[in-house]
């Protein structure tokens, strides 16, 4: 049996969020594999499970950063002279890509968890390459928008 929950959890914090969360904190560990964690197989080393979860959270923060960046470009940047659509063409793709990264992160977490349960090798993630390409493309588009704005 693996360790469950966090015994040092502050009870006051539970009350703030409500009875639903408080009830699930002490939920017993199910005998069957949890939904979305890969189905059959054996429970992996908890350190690897935690590491997989931290990777998912890191990608989630990246997704949120992309959303914030897109929102910031649209709202906080001054309009580009001569390019009225400039802010939206930069900001909207970032926001959309943020949602895509969040969904892809969950898919990766499920795939890695399944591989660990079944003792299979972890597959290579394409997300870093995808992120790098999108950032590079956005940088090029930004440069084009700035240049067009300067020339008009």
């Amino acid at each position: 049996m693996l360790p469950v929950g966090n015994s040092a959890m502050p009870r006051r914090g539970q009350r703030l969020v409500g009875a639903i969360f408080a009830a699930t904190v002490e939920a017993p560990v199910p005998d069957s594999p949890p939904a979305g964690s890969g189905g059959d197989g054996t429970e992996p080393d908890p350190r690897f499970t935690f590491a997989n979860e931290r990777t998912f959270l890191a990608w989630s923060r990246t997704a949120l950063a992309l959303v914030v960046a897109g929102l910031g470009v649209v709202q906080l940047l001054p309009p580009f002279p001569g390019v009225p659509w400039g802010r939206h063409i930069l900001g909207v793709p970032l926001i959309v890509f943020g949602a895509v990264v969040a969904l892809a992160a969950y898919r990766e977490w499920v795939r890695n968890q399944r591989a660990m349960r079944l003792g299979l090798p972890l597959s290579r993630s394409r997300m870093p390459l995808l992120l790098a390409m999108v950032v590079a493309v956005m940088a090029v588009i930004s440069a084009v928008v700035v240049l067009v704005s300067a020339l008009r």
């Binding site: 693996l2 979305g36 590491a51 931290r54 959303v67 943020g98 949602a99």
Partner: protein, 99 residues
């Protein structure tokens, strides 16, 4: 003697040996805290143009932090985080399109 992080913990002959997660739980808890702070940051930026949407997103921060306190045997919470981020992105798109 306290076992070092990563050392097998003696569970007796009946149970299979398990590994002590060591500080992995604390690191994961901190990662959840950073994620909750990220939600608060998104809410703060959204607050600039849309007060209600910004406040709603900011209120998600303590809920996300609390989700991180739940046992890792409840993977539905990761689905919830994913769905929340997609919803936040949709709200951001609406705010970006209307302001």
């Amino acid at each position: 003697m306290t076992p070092a992080p990563g050392d097998p913990v003696d569970q007796g002959a009946a149970d299979p040996p398990r590994l002590d997660p060591g500080l992995a739980r604390e690191r994961t808890s901190l990662a959840w805290t950073r994620t909750a702070l990220s939600f608060a940051a998104v809410g703060g930026v959204t607050l600039e143009k849309d007060v209600i949407a910004g406040l709603v997103i900011m209120c998600l921060a303590p809920a996300v932090w609390q989700l991180g306190r739940l046992t890792h045997h409840l993977p539905g919470r990761l689905q919830l985080i994913t769905a929340t981020i997609v919803a936040v992105a949709l709200v951001a798109l609406i705010v970006a399109a209307t302001h």
